[in-house]
Symmetry: C3
């Protein structure tokens, strides 16, 4: 394996593999794997472009530990979300903003298509993942993942993770 | 060229290049090239997530040889499908599940946007390619390609290959 | 860094990075950066698949210098387009058609989702970028970028660059 600290292509490959697997955990209904992509102390936030531009620190969803993410999964299971809908993530190539001492800052475009059990498909969300990722032992884990949706109309009350 | 049997990045690159070219054959109306991406004895199936989860072995479309795929192309040409519509494939990064002796198992998310001659665009299909791919002489060919659509409402009667 | 003139994977990586950054310039409202992706003498054209197939040389938009692209940005700023809408580009992996003496010909599928300030999302455009790219000093710049939209109904009067 190429040295991911020196080789930009290998680093982008590692990030892209991790993000693809993150998306699979959600799209394939393996939600219990989702918190494992984050560090124990972490930030996960879903917000909108409009909020970010206006300087509002709040998102429609916020967690600051892996435990909070696990709680979220449990409540989604109780609400039985997957009976009604599935997601499909399509992502662009991660764009690296900075690499500093094993901590990578990257931005990745995404599109999520939602399919209802009735068969109806729609563009559910589009935007960017703004990530701070720790690279250690050839693995990538999220220190921070801010999901910035292009639309401010994100239906989050019962939504799966983005 | 890097050794694709040892280098994961190079292997994913080869798979991604092959899948992009597969998509081009369909999207650019070069359908006659489509069977050539498969081994002579192969499996091609289009099915839905619901079918797979319910354990139904059947798909809405099935072929078990390159010849059957070529037959399909001929009947599509006779039906003159391309007069009415074109596809655009967008794919995620192939996710490798296993590599064994030149046989690779991989899963790749896809989204297909259909444009009608009238100009109308719509999300035609979303789902995953579940592939078994033979790597030989620096080339990749499909031993098995199962197209699992997220929606069970796939209009396949006159559809182009997915 | 790998030798991009000999290593296909590294070359595709460089193209993909450049295209992702090109898309960011548009999607993140950094339009002033957009002309900088082109050579000073260049071709930028937006056209439709139908036009190309019919052999019409005309597009709905045409520029043959970096200065014309900069003019376009100025008039878009005056028209205040960004008040009303944002784009999100999703792209496939660049498919290389030829490499000749530092000049690369490549084709890349794209999908653009448009989000209105009201929150409404729609598939705005899908198609291919047909590019001729100069590689020099580890950088890629567009000699020619033909944007071929699958649909002939592209609303270009007030559109952002594609």
């Amino acid at each position: 394996m190429a040295d991911i600290h020196n080789d930009k292509g290998a680093l982008i490959g590692l990030l892209a593999d991790t993000m693809e697997d993150y998306a699979r955990a959600i799209d394939l209904d393996q939600l219990e794997r989702w918190p494992g992509f984050f560090e124990e102390k972490c930030t996960y936030k879903v917000t909108s472009r409009e909020n970010v531009e206006a300087g509002y620190p709040f998102g429609v969803l916020f967690a600051d530990s892996r435990g909070m993410l696990a709680d979220r999964v449990r409540s989604l299971r109780e609400a039985n979300i997957y009976e009604g809908q599935v997601y499909r993530h399509l992502m662009g190539r991660p764009f690296i903003l900075s690499v500093d001492n094993g901590l990578v800052q990257a931005e990745t475009s995404f599109l999520i298509v939602r399919t209802m059990r009735t068969g109806e498909m729609s563009t559910f969300a589009a935007g960017t993942y703004q990530d701070r990722v720790r690279i250690a032992d050839g693995k990538a884990s999220f220190v921070e993942r801010i999901v910035v949706c292009d639309s401010s109309r994100v239906d989050t009350l019962l939504a799966l993770p983005l």
